[in-house]
C-alpha cells in the first residue's frame, strides 16, 4: 500500500503505539484486499459489545487507555454500537455481576480514548446522518448498509478492531465500497409485491440476502408493481436483514437510493437477472419460521434498535392492555430515543403493560444464550427478520411475525396470528 508521510510515521510508531497498532491493522487488511492507499474517514461507528470483546478485548482497551492522551485519543468523531448491559435492568434479565463489571471496565476505557458512548446501531438516524460520497468506517452491518445504500456514503463493514484502527488514525484502506467499481450492481431483482410492514420489508431483505454469494455481490432492486415510497424505518429493516442474511453492505433501489434515484443504477457488464420476487416468496420466508404449537416465551423488538416512531407504535398497541404473565416483552432503543420516550410518555405505556424498555443495548449483543438459560426462554417471537436469523445460534427457537401479531401474542400468552 502507498502511504503518505504522516501515515508512514504512524506506522513506524512516531505517534505512539495506538496509532501504530491502527496503521498495522489497516495495512494488513489493505494488503489482503489489494488496496492501493488509504481514505480519510469522517466518522467511525465502533462495535464493541463485551460479549464479543471478552476479557481479552477489554484488557486490550485498558492498555490503550493507560497511554498519554496525545497518543490514545481518537482522531475523528467515534460513536459506539449497542452495548451488552442496561445497568438498570441486567439483574432481572439474569445477567451476572461479572458481565456488568466487564461492561463498566470497557466503558471507562472507551471514554479515556475519547469515544462517544452513543450505544446505538441506528446512529445514521439518531446521531449524525452520513452524507453522499463521504468516506466512513462503520462497524455494524445495519449501519454500514444504510449509510452506503440509502445515504450514498462509502464504507466497508469495519468490525471492532478495524473501526478502532480507523478511529486512532482517521484512515481506512481504500478497497471495496470506497471504490466506484465495487459499487456497481451485480444482480438485479424485480419485486412484484409491495411490502406491507417492517416484517415484510425484513423478509424481502432475507429473501434477497440468501441469494447473495459473497460480500462483493451488490443487489439492485426494482419494484415492478405499484408501491408506496419506503420510509427510513422500512429501509432500515430491509437493509438490516439483507446485510444479515447476505453479508451484504450495499444495495441500489431504483428511484429510491441516491445512486439509482433517476431509475438506473451503475451496473457491471455481466449483470445477473434474478427470478422475480412475489408475495408468495415473502410469505414462504415468514411461514418457514412458524411452529406447529402456539408456545411463546419472550417477545423481542430489537435488531435494529427501534426508532422513536417504531417504539411509539409498540406503546400505542400495548396501551391499556396487560402482557400475559407467561410471556416477557422486551424492546431495545438507543439512549437518545429512550430519553425522548420517557419525556413523551411512551416508556410509561410500555412499562404499565408489563413490558421492559431497555436502552443502549440490542438483544443479541447481551449474551442472549445466558439470558435464555437463566429465564428458561426458548421460543422467541419478533418482527425482526435480522433477529430470527441470528438468534437460532443462541439456543432460541425464533418465530417471525408482524408487530401487531407480536403484541397480540404477548397479551394472550400464546402465538396468535
Amino acid at each position: 500500500m502507498r502511504l503518505n508521510d504522516f501515515e508512514e510515521d504512524m506506522l513506524n510508531g512516531k505517534h505512539g503505539w495506538p496509532r501504530q497498532f491502527g496503521m498495522e491493522q489497516i495495512v494488513k487488511v489493505g494488503d489482503f484486499f489489494d488496496a492501493q492507499d488509504c481514505v480519510e474517514v469522517a466518522q467511525v461507528h465502533l462495535m464493541a459489545d463485551t460479549e464479543s470483546l471478552g476479557e481479552d478485548g477489554v484488557e486490550f482497551l485498558e492498555k490503550l487507555a493507560q497511554l498519554p492522551l496525545e497518543e490514545r485519543a481518537v482522531k475523528v468523531p467515534t460513536v459506539t454500537d449497542p452495548r451488552g448491559i442496561d445497568f438498570e435492568h441486567y439483574k432481572e434479565l439474569g445477567q451476572s455481576d461479572a458481565q456488568a463489571d466487564l461492561e463498566r471496565r470497557a466503558i471507562v476505557a472507551f471514554r479515556a480514548l475519547g469515544v462517544m458512548m452513543t450505544d446505538t446501531c441506528i446512529n445514521y438516524q439518531t446521531i449524525m446522518p452520513p452524507v453522499l460520497g463521504e468516506h466512513l468506517a462503520f462497524g455494524d452491518t445495519g449501519s454500514s448498509i444504510y449509510a452506503n445504500s440509502v445515504q450514498g456514503a462509502r464504507t466497508n463493514f469495519q468490525g471492532g478492531p478495524s473501526a478502532l484502527a480507523s478511529a486512532l488514525t482517521g484512515r481506512a484502506p481504500r478497497y471495496g465500497f470506497h471504490l466506484d467499481e465495487c459499487r456497481k450492481g451485480r444482480k438485479i431483482f424485480k419485486v412484484d409485491h409491495a411490502p406491507g410492514d417492517f416484517t415484510e420489508w425484513g423478509a424481502l431483505g432475507g429473501v434477497i440476502g440468501r441469494q447473495m454469494e459473497s460480500y462483493w455481490d451488490v443487489p439492485v432492486i426494482e419494484f415492478v408493481s405499484e408501491h408506496r415510497h419506503p420510509t427510513s424505518d422500512e429501509l432500515k429493516h430491509f437493509g438490516a436483514a439483507l446485510a444479515s442474511y447476505g453479508s451484504t453492505a450495499l444495495f441500489h433501489m431504483l428511484g429510491v437510493t441516491p445512486e439509482a434515484f433517476d431509475g438506473s443504477a451503475p451496473l457491471v457488464d455481466d449483470l445477473e437477472q434474478m427470478d422475480v420476487i412475489g408475495a408468495g416468496d415473502i410469505e414462504t420466508f415468514i411461514e418457514a419460521y412458524w411452529p406447529q404449537d402456539d408456545v411463546v416465551d419472550v417477545v423481542v423488538f430489537a435488531a435494529p434498535q427501534l426508532s422513536l416512531i417504531e417504539i411509539s407504535q409498540v406503546a400505542d398497541l400495548l396501551d391499556g392492555q396487560k402482557i400475559n404473565e407467561k410471556v416477557a416483552l422486551i424492546a431495545t432503543v438507543s439512549p437518545e430515543v429512550k430519553s425522548a420516550a420517557d419525556r413523551m410518555g411512551v416508556t410509561a405505556k410500555i412499562e404499565k403493560s408489563g413490558g421492559l424498555l431497555l436502552q443502549g443495548v440490542c438483544f443479541y449483543q447481551m449474551c442472549a444464550r445466558e439470558i435464555g438459560e437463566a429465564k428458561g426462554w426458548k421460543r422467541l417471537l419478533t418482527n425482526s427478520a435480522k433477529l430470527v436469523n441470528i438468534i437460532g445460534g443462541y439456543g432460541y427457537d425464533p418465530v417471525l411475525a408482524s408487530l401487531e401479531c407480536c403484541v397480540r401474542s404477548a397479551v394472550q400468552g400464546r402465538l396468535v396470528r
Binding site: 471478552g54 478485548g57 443479541y364
Partner: protein, 142 residues
C-alpha cells in the same frame, strides 16, 4: 512435509498470518462466529449448519463464504486467547470482517482459490497452510 509424492497444491490470494499445519474440518456452508458457534464449548451451535455439534478447536476450518455480522472481528481473538480457536480459517470468499478478525487475532487465513476449496479438501485431510504464498498443500490422504 513437502508438496512432492502425491501432495496437492491449491493456490489462493496472499493471506494473513503465519504458516501452520493441521487437520481439516470442511463444509460447503458459510461462516460467522456469532451466528454459528458456541464459543465457550468450541462447537458449531447453529442447528442448520452442516457442522452442527462438531468441534472446530485446533482444526483448519474450511468453509465457503464469510457471512453474518461484524462480531467475528473481535471474537476470533477472544477465542484464540482461551485456546479455543481454529488453527486457521480457509474460505472461498472472506469478507472484511474475517480479514480484520484474522489480522487482529494473527489467525492464519487464505481465500480466493483457483477452485472450490470446500470440494478440493476433505474433512480429516492433513493440510499445510502458507498465507505468505497464498497456498494450501494437502498431504497424502490415508
Amino acid at each position: 512435509m513437502s508438496a512432492d509424492g502425491g501432495s496437492k497444491i491449491i493456490n489462493g490470494h496472499l493471506g494473513i498470518g503465519g504458516p501452520v499445519v493441521g487437520e481439516a474440518l470442511v463444509a460447503s456452508d458459510n461462516f460467522s462466529a456469532r451466528y454459528d458457534l458456541d464459543r465457550l464449548k468450541g462447537v458449531f451451535s447453529r442447528p442448520a449448519h452442516k457442522l452442527y455439534g462438531m468441534s472446530y478447536v485446533d482444526k483448519i476450518l474450511i468453509l465457503n463464504a464469510a457471512k453474518g455480522g461484524v462480531a467475528s472481528a473481535w471474537m476470533l481473538k477472544e477465542m484464540m486467547s482461551r485456546n479455543m480457536g481454529p488453527k486457521a480459517l480457509i474460505l472461498n470468499f472472506a469478507n472484511p470482517i474475517m480479514a480484520q478478525g484474522a489480522a487482529y487475532a494473527e489467525l492464519p487465513m487464505i481465500d480466493r482459490f483457483d477452485q472450490d476449496v470446500t470440494i478440493a479438501v476433505k474433512t480429516g485431510d492433513i493440510v499445510e497452510v502458507n498465507p505468505a504464498a497464498g497456498t494450501l498443500i494437502i498431504n497424502d490422504r490415508k
